[in-house]
């Protein structure tokens, strides 16, 4: 067992994103049930509380870490996630690629990050369905504001649509996966148009 190499292995996330209006979501869920694994079972649901922490680095760039807690399965470990700068690439690259570090951790992570110097930037609830197809993860979720602050049973949704994401986390250099995701995304057309979305261009 070489722990050191396990620790150092970098992971990358290949991702496509899109959205679908509430009224058509049911049809998309049916389609996904047909396309993904375990189609005979009811779709797996999730309800997560996400906290986004930032800190300014000496070079002026902010460093962002995301903390997720499952509100449905309270005994699950908390989840800390670092996402690197997304690379759009040229037309030949099928998906967005970003480096990604996932860490399962204990429930005192929020205190820990605050004491390290991080500041809570914003938080939200993400609620929806998760499907798996091989190594691919497909989520159809709705984002909710916490209004009033701290109220996790909020029904204050951000928009009238669902966020759809298809992603795979894999070791660096497995670019064939991007093609796999693209061909899967093709099968969801015209219900949902999954694209490489650069969050920097949305700001």
């Amino acid at each position: 067992m070489n722990l050191e190499s396990t620790r150092r292995s970098a992971q990358q996330e290949y991702i496509l994103q899109g959205s679908i209006v509430n009224d058509s979501c049911e049809i998309l869920l049916h389609r996904l049930r047909g396309l993904c694994d375990n189609g005979d079972a009811a779709p797996e649901t999730f309800k997560d509380h996400e906290y986004v922490y930032t800190i300014r680095q000496p070079n002026g760039q902010p460093l962002t870490l995301r903390v997720r807690q499952s509100l449905e399965k309270k005994d699950y470990p908390w989840h800390l996630r670092y996402l690197g700068q997304p690379e759009i690439g040229d037309k030949n690259r099928a998906t967005l690629v970003r480096s990604c570090i996932d860490v399962a951790c204990s429930s005192n992570i929020c205190t820990f990050l605050s004491e390290m110097g991080f500041k809570l930037d914003y938080e939200y609830i993400s609620k929806g369905f998760i499907f798996k197809k091989g190594r691919m993860k497909v989520t159809v979720s709705k984002i909710f504001r916490l209004l009033p602050p701290g109220n996790v049973n909020t029904d204050e949704h951000v928009s009238q649509s669902y966020l759809v994401e298809v992603s795979v986390v894999a070791p660096t250099g497995q670019d064939a996966l991007a093609e796999e995701i693209r061909s899967f995304a093709e099968q969801l057309k015209p219900l949902v148009q999954l694209e490489k979305i650069d969050p920097r261009r949305l700001q």
């Binding site: 722990l3 620790r7 970098a10 300014r56 860490v103 399962a104 204990s106 004491e115 390290m116």
Partner: protein, 231 residues
């Protein structure tokens, strides 16, 4: 896991660390303990950069007994338990928290089993240099320190002179359920005191006028035992 108590074993004058370890191993083998492999507890220290106020010290500790976990201890006392991907995360924070390679400490050595007890004899080093001996004793069948401390004390008396009291950290948690964090906290305290005594010894050597700083005694100096009488 059961209850774990970690103690610093003083090295008598005129003896080398290796001689003391060999002696301890011989004692344990005479008692009937069997070798069950090796172990390692390592600690890397990170210091916060100038833009983090108040400044912080973060110790990242791994224990071979929990190979998939990483323990992150802040100087505020908060201990985060997470998986080993956290090491990778620390690399992304290199601008905020930086480590000094020369401060990496580890305690490694042989793991013994004797009935319900597990004993680990570790030689502590900072980089390549030897700094002391830490002995970890675990009693498996119990999780409340208060219920088994006397038994552990008696057991330790078989190969080292038993400590009067549990480690200071454990004293406040004698009636709580013991967790792996409690083992790590004890190692962290020992590593800190070894680091401090090393720093004090170095500063005394370089500035002989500050003799008061060298008078620091190790927390478990009371468990010293002369080697020849044990034979």
């Amino acid at each position: 896991m059961g209850v774990v108590s970690v103690h610093q074993y003083p090295i008598p004058e005129g003896k080398s660390g290796q001689q003391v370890i060999d002696h301890l191993v011989k004692c344990l083998e005479t008692l009937g303990a069997t070798k069950t492999g090796t172990f390692c507890v390592d600690c890397e220290t990170y210091y916060s950069g100038p833009n983090i106020n108040p400044s912080r010290v973060l110790n990242i500790i791994h224990n071979s007994e929990h190979p998939a976990s990483c323990f992150a201890l802040l100087d505020t006392g908060t201990c985060l338990v997470c998986d080993t991907n956290f090491d990778q995360l620390m690399l992304t924070m290199s601008g905020l928290y930086h480590s000094k390679k020369s401060t990496k400490m580890e305690s490694k050595g042989t793991r013994f089993q004797l009935g319900d007890f597990i004993v680990k004899v570790g030689s502590v080093s900072i980089g390549p240099s030897f700094r002391g001996i830490l002995i970890e004793v675990e009693y498996g069948p119990c999780v409340i320190p208060n219920y088994c401390w006397d038994l552990m004390k008696e057991f330790m008396g078989g190969f080292m002179s038993s400590p009067r009291d549990p480690h200071q950290y454990l004293q406040g948690k004698m009636n709580d359920i013991f967790t792996p964090i409690d083992t790590i906290q004890q190692y962290n305290d020992h590593f800190n005191s070894i680091r401090k005594s090393t720093a004090a010894a170095t500063s005394t050597a370089s500035t002989p006028t500050h003799q008061s700083s060298s008078g620091r005694s190790t927390p478990s100096a009371g468990i010293a035992q002369s080697i020849p009488t044990k034979q």
